[in-house]
Amino acid sequence: MLVEIRWHGRGGQGGVTSAELLAKAAYLDGYKGVQAFPFFGAERRGAPVKAFTRISDREINVRCQIYEPDIVAVLDPDIIDLIDVCEGLKDDGIVIVNTPKAPSELDLRGHVYTFDGTGIALRHGLLVAGLPVVNTTMLGAFARATGLVKLETVQRVIMEKWPGKVGERNAEGAKEAYDSCTDQG
């Protein structure tokens, strides 16, 4: 089994960190093979960026970008208007979008889940330089939508990455995203 995940966000939103934290959660949950890597270009704050995660029950040999993902995670809904986030998505693929909208309000291919990560981030004070950061909420939503990793494991890697109050707030945000993430409506 090999699951390929592509992350879409903007520079500074924490997409690369999401990809890495998911990989860590995956090996803690017993997957033998994990990879997490960013697509580096002329990356800068605010520009659309991509990152990738692979998860497998075996050692992963393939080492290239992901062209036909099983799962697409979109941290910034406005990116949907700029690029085709579903490009190459497998027919039974999952799309997880940070947006207050319902899945049916988005014109996207695949099994769509949504959650209001930005709203959750604002409520829990998940801010960097005054702006909401949604990467940890995305991990909670990811755990719910895919069932690939446990919420507890996601919270654990978040707490290890940011020990103390910051980690606690992010872990709470991940839980709220887990609880509210939906494919209905």
Binding site: A19, K24, Q35, F37, P38, F40, N61, V62, R63, C64
Partner: protein, 401 residues
């Protein structure tokens, strides 16, 4: 010979880390005395992480933040001459600027470990991966080992010191990882307990060390009288590397259960076509072979690890029964009839009465992604050339023409 015991599983720490971080952690556990380096992407994390270990008091290493890579390798040579365990890291233009001193390090028989995050050379400026930098240094006298995974990078750095410092060798080692593709890729890495690494390596025992009380001269002038003899000795040391490598890997295997060899073979036993490459494309090639085997195609992979010294004789035995060897390499040697990796393979096979057809595909320059489809395209072309009975000396794949 050190007595090595298997490290119990509960003493192994599993961490998610990038290739660069894995190398930094290995350097920390190898208890190096001196690290002299100048930052350059995509190697920078190695030195950044290591500086954190120093700042936190986790290591006693003296870090020398020099003003250039030329100075970095010069400082490494000086420190190594005193008897210190020494490392540095670089990439691309940084390696190019080290050039002059690479030859000094090797000829003066300094067992320095140099981590290279392989990156393209300018111009145009490019921060991404190909192998032009370390291929260019292939004649410098460094041992060169290329890694496919973060675990392998970690393990190889540890073994590199033991190989380099062996008195039958006393040569510097480049441990190469693909820039960004591995250097910035987080993977699961099993880390050994520091005591196990230090017991495995021991303290460096220099053959000769600079000592004010017993002065010696190192790297002196040698002209027509003795220069050639220095080179003869250096060449013999290189020839002894395989034996020492084998010994070190066997000990490492006792400790960890892991061994990699000078090259890895994958499903080659009955293969008509053998894909020959190294580093991260070696991994992708294995995935391609799995897919092609399911379609009944007889293909396999030889993933090279040790480019210098090149294991020509051992490879000849593995490759000789294939109908074709398809070489994939991330370098163009401009003006050459083919390219560095294929040249080695062709030389290794030349003396056979009947030898496989060799195809040479230049891929991935400047970080151009190498998906499975690029490898498949090369295999398909190789099949066509087998039918035709001849192949071009090289061609490029995955580029607009």
């Amino acid at each position: 010979m050190t007595v090595v015991e298997r490290v119990p599983t509960d003493k192994v720490v599993v961490e998610g880390m990038t290739g660069d971080a894995a190398i930094a952690h290995a350097l920390k556990q190898c208890d190096i005395d001196v690290l002299a380096a100048y930052p350059i992407t995509p190697q920078t994390i190695i030195v950044e992480d290591f500086q954190k270990f120093v700042a936190n008091g986790e290591v006693k290493t003296r870090v020398i933040p020099v003003e250039s890579e030329h100075s970095a390798m010069s400082a490494c040579v000086g420190a190594s001459a005193v008897g210190a365990r020494v490392a540095t890291a670089t990439a691309s233009a940084g390696l190019a600027l080290m050039w002059e001193i690479l030859y000094c390090a090797a000829s003066m028989r300094m067992p320095i470990v140099l981590a290279v995050a392989n990156r393209a050379l300018s111009a145009p400026i490019n921060i991404h991966n190909d192998w032009s930098d370390s291929y260019g240094a292939r004649d410098s006298g460094f041992i060169q080992i290329y890694c496919q995974s973060c675990q392998e990078a970690y393990d190889t750095v540890i073994m590199a010191f033991k190989i380099a410092e062996d008195h039958d060798v006393l040569l510097p080692v480049m441990v190469c990882i693909d820039g960004f593709i591995l250097s910035h890729n987080v993977e699961r890495v099993e880390m050994l307990p520091t005591e196990a690494v230090q017991q495995f390596l021991g303290v460096r025992k220099p053959a000769i060390a600079l000592d004010p009380d017993n002065p010696v001269t190192m790297g002196p002038l040698a002209l027509t009288d003795y220069y050639f003899e220095f080179k003869e000795q250096q060449d013999r040391a290189m020839a002894r590397v395989p034996e020492v490598f084998e010994r070190v890997e066997s000990e490492f295997e006792k400790m960890t259960g892991r061994r990699y060899g000078r090259f890895e073979t994958y499903r080659v036993e009955d293969a008509d076509i053998i894909i020959f490459t190294h580093s991260t494309p070696g991994g992708t090639a294995k995935a391609v072979v799995d897919a092609l085997r399911e379609r009944g195609e007889k293909v396999g992979v030889v993933r090279l690890r040790m480019f210098r010294p090149f294991p020509a004789e051992a490879l000849r035995e593995v490759l000789r029964n294939a109908k074709a060897v398809a070489v994939f390499e991330k370098c163009r040697s401009f003006g050459a009839p083919s390219n560095p990796l294929a040249l080695e393979v062709r030389t290794a096979l030349y003396d056979l009465d009947e030898r496989p057809l060799v195809t040479d595909f230049v891929i991935g320059l400047g970080g151009r992604d190498v998906p499975p489809s690029t490898i498949v395209e090369g295999v398909e072309k190789t099949k066509e050339y087998l039918k035709a009975g001849r192949a071009p000396l090289y061609e490029t794949l995955g580029v607009r023409k």
